[in-house]
Structure formats: structure tokens, C-alpha cells
């Protein structure tokens, strides 16, 4: 395999085809490839099939913009900054989108199976819940489990006995191998070695499971620096396909040791309850900016400097978070 190719934001988003199954790095409001998602919206992608361990700003945004046809995941929201993914909620209720719910254990297991080339992942988590209710299998109800859709397994799950120690039944959950992974990582080496700082969320599995991997990063550094501590690296250059260098690419989500999540921005977004309000948001922050640099100018230096993380603690001590 060859080393990953350096491309720009527009080229990266153009790699995603209408109808593709895509997935993302990060966790809720941390390390999301937001700049890439903005660009997908600018390029007016349609019928995307999102598989997510869990959603957040980046994917509720894609749903709001009408780019998404199917959402498979365990959770959607912005934690304490907006408990519910309002765009997903609105479009699920209106029937504009197919939603298939899992637990976190399930999505993590499915992704790991895809990452390792396993056909399925065995798991006894969340048994006895409506996640396993065949009446609620939206993809089956829509006739999509007929074996003709490359990213949709013929069944949501099967139950399997333990032939070895007779422990009882557990679920086998199908592997997932998305067409494209959109990954935000703070640091990438010039040979493609990927470094994240501290918590790894599900990023290694997202990279391994996906057919095409695009990594958007704060900075590209000489690989030899990252290779001084190989146990701290997340992935090797031959595991990724494209690199985009784009500072603040995760904003308004956070990036440990680079910047905090932008709570005000996220709270404001989470107040959106109607398409009209969403469209105004999109006009202001997505269509109404000429480039990512223009987006940053619009945010302004003061805001970005408040969010910037301390190099010692890894998070901002300047941003006001509570009432005191």
C-alpha cells in the first residue's frame, strides 16, 4: 500500500458519493470532523447512510441539512449542552429518515467486527430490550434486508447458543464496513502515522473498518517525531488514504490539548426546532462563508482564544462554563 495523499477540503468531500455509508471519529462533542461535514453540506450530498457508534453535532447537522437517508446508531445529542439531537428527532417523527437504534455496546461491537474482518460480534449486552424487537427493525420494514444492499446485513441480529460452556444465548451482531470514514485527528505525520492525545474513543476501529479513510488534522508533522513513541500512535500511514490539514477542523466540538468544545455554539444549535431555523443556521455558518478560514474569521479571535486548550491541562481554563 502506498502512503496517504494530501488533499484539500473540497477534494475530500468529493470522495463521498450520494448513497454511501459513512462513519466518523470522535465521541458526542469531541474530535468530530466538522469542517468535512460542512463541506459535504456545501456539496449537497444526498441519501447518505450514517453508521455511528453515537451521534453528535456533526451528524445531527448532516441530518438537518437533508443529506441523510438512514441513521444507525446508539445515541444522538450533545450531552449536557443539548440532551437531544433535535434534527434527528424532527426528521424521525416526520418520517423523512429511517432510524435503527442500537446500544453503545452493539455499535461498538459491530464496528470492531468490521475492523477485524470478523463476520459478527458476539455480545450479551442489552438483551431483553426493544432494540431486539423485530417489529422495530426499520431497515427490514423498508425492505432493505433483501441482500441487495451492500451495506445492509440480511438480519439485524441472530441469537446463538454457547456450544462450549453452555452459558446460554447471546446475540451475534453483524459487522459494519462503511464506505468512507471521516476522521478528525489532531496530529498526522508526513508518512501518515496518526496520533491522538489521550482518550481514543472508537477512532482506531473507525479507521480499520472503513473502505476509504480521510483524516483531517490540526497539523502535519515529521513522522519521525511520532515514531519516537510508537505505543502512543493510533494508526499507521498505510491504514489511511487521504490527509487534509485544517486547523480548528473539529470546531465547535473539542479536541483534547487543542481546544475545548464551544458550549455557546452548541447550545445555540440545539435550540433549533424547525427546518427554517436550521436553514438560517446553515446559511450563516455553512453556505455564507467562503472557506474554512472565513468561518474562523467569523468566529473571531476572541472566541477561539477562549476555547484554546492549556498545553498543560489539555483544556481551556478561560471559557466560562457554569453560573459561578
Amino acid at each position: 500500500m502506498s502512503q496517504p495523499k494530501k488533499i484539500n477540503l473540497a477534494e475530500a468531500a468529493a470522495l463521498v458519493q450520494d448513497g454511501d455509508q459513512i462513519t466518523f471519529s470522535g465521541f458526542t462533542i469531541w474530535r468530530r470532523p466538522v469542517a468535512l461535514c460542512y463541506e459535504l453540506i456545501r456539496q449537497r450530498k444526498k441519501d447518505l447512510h450514517l453508521f455511528e457508534v453515537q451521534g453528535g453535532f456533526h451528524s445531527d447537522l448532516l441530518v438537518g441539512a437533508g443529506c441523510v437517508k438512514i441513521w444507525e446508531g446508539a445515541w444522538m445529542g450533545q450531552e449536557m449542552l443539548g440532551k437531544i439531537g433535535e434534527n434527528l428527532a424532527r426528521k424521525q417523527i416526520s418520517g423523512e429518515i429511517l432510524v435503527d437504534d442500537y446500544s453503545h455496546g452493539h455499535t461498538v461491537g459491530r464496528l470492531m467486527a468490521g475492523a477485524l474482518g470478523l463476520p459478527f460480534f458476539p455480545c450479551a449486552l442489552a438483551m431483553g430490550t426493544d432494540i431486539f424487537n423485530p417489529e422495530y427493525d426499520q431497515l427490514a420494514k423498508a425492505g432493505l434486508r433483501d441482500g441487495r444492499h451492500r451495506n445492509i446485513p440480511a438480519k439485524k441480529y441472530i441469537m446463538a447458543d454457547d456450544p462450549f460452556f453452555n452459558r446460554g444465548e447471546c446475540a451475534l451482531l453483524p459487522a459494519v464496513n462503511p464506505d468512507v470514514a471521516l476522521v478528525y485527528a489532531p496530529i498526522v505525520g508526513d508518512e501518515g502515522t496518526v496520533r491522538i492525545l489521550s482518550q481514543s474513543y472508537s477512532d482506531a476501529e473507525v479507521i480499520k473498518a472503513s473502505k476509504t479513510v480521510i483524516v483531517i488534522c490540526e497539523e502535519i508533522v515529521p513522522d519521525s517525531y511520532l515514531r519516537r513513541d510508537p505505543a502512543a500512535n493510533l494508526a499507521s500511514g498505510y491504514e489511511i488514504d487521504y490527509i487534509v490539514e485544517c486547523p480548528w477542523a473539529a470546531h465547535p466540538t473539542g479536541s483534547q490539548f487543542y481546544y475545548d468544545a464551544d458550549a455557546d455554539f452548541l447550545k445555540a444549535f440545539n435550540k433549533i426546532r424547525e427546518q427554517k431555523a436550521f436553514d438560517e443556521f446553515a446559511e450563516k455558518w455553512i453556505f455564507g462563508v467562503k472557506s474554512h478560514e472565513d468561518y474562523l474569521e467569523k468566529l473571531g479571535v476572541r472566541r477561539l482564544e477562549e476555547l484554546r486548550a492549556s498545553k498543560i491541562s489539555g483544556y481551556s481554563s478561560r471559557v466560562k462554563r457554569g453560573t459561578r
Partner: protein
């Protein structure tokens, strides 16, 4: 210090302080706790500061036994990893810890609950044509299914404590065995994967527990409320035959810890 260990009198604490104190009492020293953001974080930290210094907290994003200097607003927050024993990811949290059987106590929230402790945090109405969408499971169903004990913190409303929840996100003591859908006990579904289940529900009015048959009963009522108040705010016939008394209010030391040490920025305690 005897002053600080005195219980607060009415008016000396807010409802949320009592919730945090009641929740903290559910943590035993040495417990491995798997918790979500918000009140559970406060409760565990309070327990660690008082009677459970060896309790360990796992957050689902992948930090283990962190000792944050500043209150996290997300379980994936950079603040979670300070002085943690490990910073990994979700696979470690859900499989390396939870599925491997190490979690003693889960701390969760929910929108609806039934008398067997089945909890809904996915949708209101028919899942195929929902009236309202919540967050979905996240780790809720995983933790509730696999922790030895699970505490839910909820709002006490008649429409939330109902005969049957609209969608079972997290399994209680009687659940459906899928794909057939017959009602059975949790033990019957989990067989040797069974580890335990819902133990306690704490609301703004009362503390509930579960009897040997897996049915909810009223244990204690918070100061300022009566048993009848609780009955009026439960949508199913509540067992009140085992009420053990009034919920203990927080101590002065606990309130001080909550506002001065645990959440001085006023993130969860405004």
C-alpha cells in the same frame, strides 16, 4: 467537625442536593462504577470524598478512575482523564470492563420507567411512528443489563412512572425474550451472563427499590413529601408496604463539598 456532619434542616439544602446525597449513599467503598454525565458524576465524587475513597469511576468514552480537577460536562471531556489509571476508548469501557463483568454499579437516567424497572430513553409513542424522540440508549441499556446494581435518577411524574413504557431501552426484572417476545424474568434471558439489575430509583420525591419478585416498592420519601404525594405521581399501583421512613437529608458537610469542592463553577448546581 461534628457540625459539618449534622444533617441539614429544611431550607438549608436544595432538592438537587438531596438527590446527590441520596445517590452518593448508593456507592459502596471499592465499587467499580460506570456512570453518565451530570448528577451521577456529582454523586460518585461526593461518595469518594466521604465514605467510598476506593470507588472507581468508568466513563463510557474510555477514561478509567479519573480524578478530575474540574467538573466534566461530557463523559468524553478532556477533564475526565486527569490522574486516570487508564485513558482508552469505548471498546475498553463496554467490553474490556462492562462485558468482562467488572462493573459493580451503574448510574443512569431515563424518561420513563415501569414497575419492573424497564426504562425508556428512546421514543414516546410507537417506535415506528414516534411522537417524541429522546437520545436513544447510548450506554444506558448496556450498563443496566450488565452492572451488578443500577441506580436510576429520574423526575417523579405520573406519565413517567407507567404500567408499560413505550419502548424498553434498558432491561428491568421482567423483560421480553426476543425474537419471540414472551415475557420472562431477566435471569431467564441472561442465563449465566446474568450479573444483577436495577436496584434503586431516586427521584425528586422518593427512593424506590425492588423486591424479590422484581417489583418496585417505595422505600423512603424525601422531606416535604408524603407517601400519598408519591402514589399520586406514579402511574401504576405502587407497593407502599415496605416504606422504611424519610430519606435522609444531606449533611452540611455534603452541601459544602458539593458547592465548594465538587462543582464550584456551578455547572450542575446553579
Amino acid at each position: 467537625m461534628s457540625h459539618a456532619s449534622e444533617y441539614c434542616k429544611p431550607g438549608e439544602f436544595k432538592p438537587i442536593d438531596l438527590l446527590a446525597a441520596a445517590a452518593a449513599r448508593e456507592v459502596n467503598d471499592g465499587d467499580v462504577v460506570f456512570a453518565g454525565t451530570g448528577l451521577p458524576m456529582l454523586a460518585i465524587t461526593l461518595a469518594q470524598q466521604e465514605h467510598a475513597p476506593n470507588a472507581v469511576c468508568i466513563y463510557e468514552a474510555g477514561s478509567i478512575d479519573g480524578r478530575p480537577l474540574h467538573t466534566p460536562t461530557s463523559v468524553g471531556d478532556a477533564r475526565c482523564t486527569y490522574q486516570a489509571s487508564k485513558a482508552a476508548g469505548l471498546f475498553e469501557a463496554f467490553y474490556g470492563q462492562l462485558h468482562s463483568g467488572t462493573v459493580d454499579l451503574g448510574f443512569l437516567g431515563g424518561a420513563e420507567i415501569d414497575k419492573y424497572g424497564n426504562v425508556n430513553c428512546t421514543v414516546l409513542g410507537d417506535y415506528n411512528h414516534p411522537k417524541k424522540r429522546f437520545t436513544g440508549s447510548g450506554g444506558n441499556s448496556d450498563i443496566c443489563s450488565y452492572a451488578k446494581r443500577t441506580v436510576f435518577i429520574m423526575v417523579q411524574e405520573k406519565r413517567r412512572f407507567k404500567e408499560q413504557v413505550d419502548y424498553v431501552t434498558s432491561p428491568g426484572w421482567r423483560v421480553k425474550k426476543w425474537p419471540s417476545g414472551e415475557w420472562v424474568t431477566k435471569q431467564e434471558v441472561y442465563k449465566s451472563y446474568f450479573k444483577g439489575g436495577v436496584s434503586t430509583v431516586i427521584t425528586d420525591m422518593a427512593v424506590f427499590r425492588f423486591d424479590e419478585t422484581g417489583e418496585m416498592y417505595l422505600d423512603t420519601v424525601h422531606p416535604g413529601f408524603t407517601v400519598q404525594d408519591v402514589i399520586d405521581n406514579v402511574g401504576f399501583k405502587l407497593n407502599v408496604s415496605r416504606v422504611s421512613g424519610q430519606t435522609l437529608p444531606p449533611t452540611k458537610k455534603q452541601v459544602e463539598l458539593l458547592y465548594q469542592v465538587i462543582d464550584p463553577e456551578g455547572i450542575f448546581l446553579p
